[in-house]
């Protein structure tokens, strides 16, 4: 029936025929700018990676000892790359499905659940409990627990009579608050030694990660992120809101549910690996949207990942070599992220 459309009138105010394009990056200038942006971020990410591995290596460059130390540090690098991937993709997708650019999936109770599990282990089993919640089996268990929690919550709220996104968010926040309160209560009953050891686990830290977890974390993250990438164009349509998405033939409820489950896998992988990172995902998503200036998820997702690697890796390098406190990367990211959030909100007045 397209042929029935009248022949186009001479375009008004349009310079060249090839400029009349739609899509996420409509003009040649947009496309060139995007390529430069990704290139610059990739270079920055490689520099950060090189700094993580090579900075302050006591052995002479190229010697056997140098490479041995570098090899140890590569683990931290891989953790940074995986966490950035999970948090960045998870947050961008979550914001799209919830049609909200202020939210982060952390508020859905993932972090509170992590806190509760860790705290409960220590308070029931003492310091030995911390050792018990470590190990590949336990890691998998924790991921499964978080995904199951999210699956129940989303599944129940999305298929039940109360099929409403805001109700779901509210229930997630309330449950998260409840679990967080329970964890705080249990923490008050701990001895100072136990509490000290627990605190180290509850601040997001690259040092928390155990290299043996990566064998599970990497495939899981890659699978979940891969599906998000593959269906990224559906995300573009979901971002237009339910009515428009359904009108364009996207099964909004099913798509949203699938995306939320993928997000929960990503968040569970990341949180179980390094602990809570409340603002990190938000920070990467916001910067990615700001610098790409497009709605296209195919464009925003990789940029968010690269931004995440630069920010998290950068924070790690700065803390480790400037402040000698590599353990508390989460603190720096939260402080910088929180500040950035406030400045951004106050300057723009909108998100």
């Amino acid at each position: 029936m397209a042929e029935a459309l009248r022949p186009a009138r001479p375009p008004v105010g349009v310079s060249g025929a090839d400029e009349r394009r739609s899509g996420a990056l409509p003009t040649t200038r947009d496309r060139r700018r995007y390529v430069v942006l990704v290139g610059a971020l990739a270079v920055a990410a490689v520099l950060v990676a090189a700094a993580m591995v090579g900075w302050d290596n006591p052995m002479p460059v190229g010697s056997e000892g140098f490479w041995r130390i570098a090899e140890l540090r590569v683990t931290s690098l891989v953790v940074v790359v995986v966490v950035a991937f999970c948090q960045a993709l998870g947050t961008v997708a979550f914001q799209t499905v919830t049609a909200n650019r202020i939210l982060t999936p952390s508020i859905m109770g993932f972090e509170a659940l992590y806190r509760l599990v860790q705290t409960a282990a220590v308070s029931v089993l003492g310091v030995a409990g911390l050792a018990l919640v470590q190990g590949v089996g336990q890691y998998v268990l924790q991921v499964v627990l978080m995904v199951a929690f999210a699956g129940l919550l989303y599944g129940w709220l999305f298929t039940g009579r109360l099929a409403n996104l805001h109700v779901m968010l509210l229930v997630g926040i309330v449950l998260g608050g409840g679990m967080g309160a329970l964890a705080s209560y249990l923490q008050r009953l701990l001895s100072p030694t136990e509490f000290d050891l627990l605190t180290a686990r509850l601040i997001g830290s690259v040092a928390n990660a155990d290299a043996t977890y990566l064998g599970v974390a990497v495939p899981l993250a890659a699978a979940a992120g891969g599906v998000l990438w593959w269906r990224a164009r559906d995300l573009d349509v979901l971002a237009l809101g339910r009515d428009v998405a359904v009108g364009l033939g996207v099964d909004h409820r099913r798509r949203s549910l699938v995306v939320l489950l993928l997000v929960s896998v990503l968040m569970a992988v990341s949180t179980s690996l390094v602990g809570p990172m409340t603002f990190f995902g938000f920070l990467t998503a916001m910067i990615a949207y700001q610098v790409t200036g497009t709605y296209g998820h195919r464009q925003v997702l990789p940029v968010a990942w690269l931004v995440g690697v630069v920010v998290l890796g950068g924070a790690y390098v700065v803390l480790k070599h400037v402040f000698y406190a590599a353990g508390s990367v989460g603190v720096l990211v939260e402080v910088v992220g929180g500040t950035f959030f406030l400045v951004h909100l106050l300057r723009k007045g909108r998100l």
Partner: protein
């Protein structure tokens, strides 16, 4: 073109829509009119499968709305709600480009771009196509959404109160555009209208609803009559012969 059989939607024990049986013919503009709460928009959103029904069936061009895949329906029927809040920042052309999603799943071909260009030009948005939607006036934004629906290239187009928030000039312009969509492009347009005079002047068929039921259907000459409108709207309405056709007067 569109067949509704015993379509029912229940909200509470005393608030219900239907059962509605209705036949919307192919081609032309069909206007749904009626007082607030009569169920015009609800009926339109049910036909456009944005809202489920409790009983009954809707068929569009032979496809059962409840059973056909949403993606397949999107190539037969396009639907536009009254209010569309976007989180995404889009230019006019990018929005119109989304109209091609049912056909190309987001990978726009040269043919898609051509259809987008023609839709943009059809709604006279050529000069504005690079502007962001939040930089436009309400009337321009409304036209951009209609252009998206047009680019979807469907036989049936459902519009929920497209004249909402438009001034006199823009309302007339919009109705003339819809008219051209039916005459030049052969689309079937179903539209919810508040102003009975717009319905009387531009529609080919008028459906009057009240209390969730279809009360009158017919040509404008059959429905835009004093006793019909007085009954439907529960307010005294006179119909007089104006210089450009019959006018309902109720002020």
């Amino acid at each position: 073109m569109i067949t509704l059989s015993s379509v029912t939607k229940r909200y509470a024990s005393d608030v219900a829509i239907g059962p509605v049986d209705l036949e919307v013919p192919a081609g032309g503009i069909t206007a749904l009119i009626g007082p607030n709460g009569a169920g015009k928009s609800t009926l339109l959103t049910i036909v456009g499968r944005l809202l489920g029904m409790d009983a009954g069936a809707v068929e569009i061009a032979g496809l059962d709305v409840a059973r056909t895949r949403s993606a397949d329906l999107a190539r037969v029927v396009a639907v536009l709600r009254q209010e569309n809040h976007l989180v995404t920042r889009l230019t006019v052309r990018q929005l119109v480009g989304f109209g091609r999603f049912p056909h190309s799943r987001g990978r726009l071909t040269a043919h898609d771009e051509e259809v987008v260009s023609r839709s943009v030009d059809f709604l006279d948005l050529g000069a504005l196509e690079g502007r962001y939607l939040d930089e436009l006036s309400g009337g321009q934004r409304q036209r951009a959404y209609v252009a998206m629906v047009l680019a979807q290239d469907t036989e049936v187009v459902l519009l929920d109160e497209p004249l909402n928030n438009l001034d006199m000039a823009h309302s007339v312009q919009m109705m003339q555009l819809l008219r051209r969509m039916t005459t030049e492009l052969g689309r079937t347009v179903v539209v919810v209208l508040h102003d009975v005079n717009f319905a009387g002047h531009y529609a080919d068929h008028v459906v009057a609803l009240k209390d969730g039921l279809v009360r009158y259907t017919g040509t404008p000459a059959e429905v835009i009559r004093a006793e019909v409108l007085t009954d439907v709207f529960d307010t005294p309405v006179d119909v007089v012969d104006g210089p450009r056709g019959r006018l309902a007067v109720y002020y």
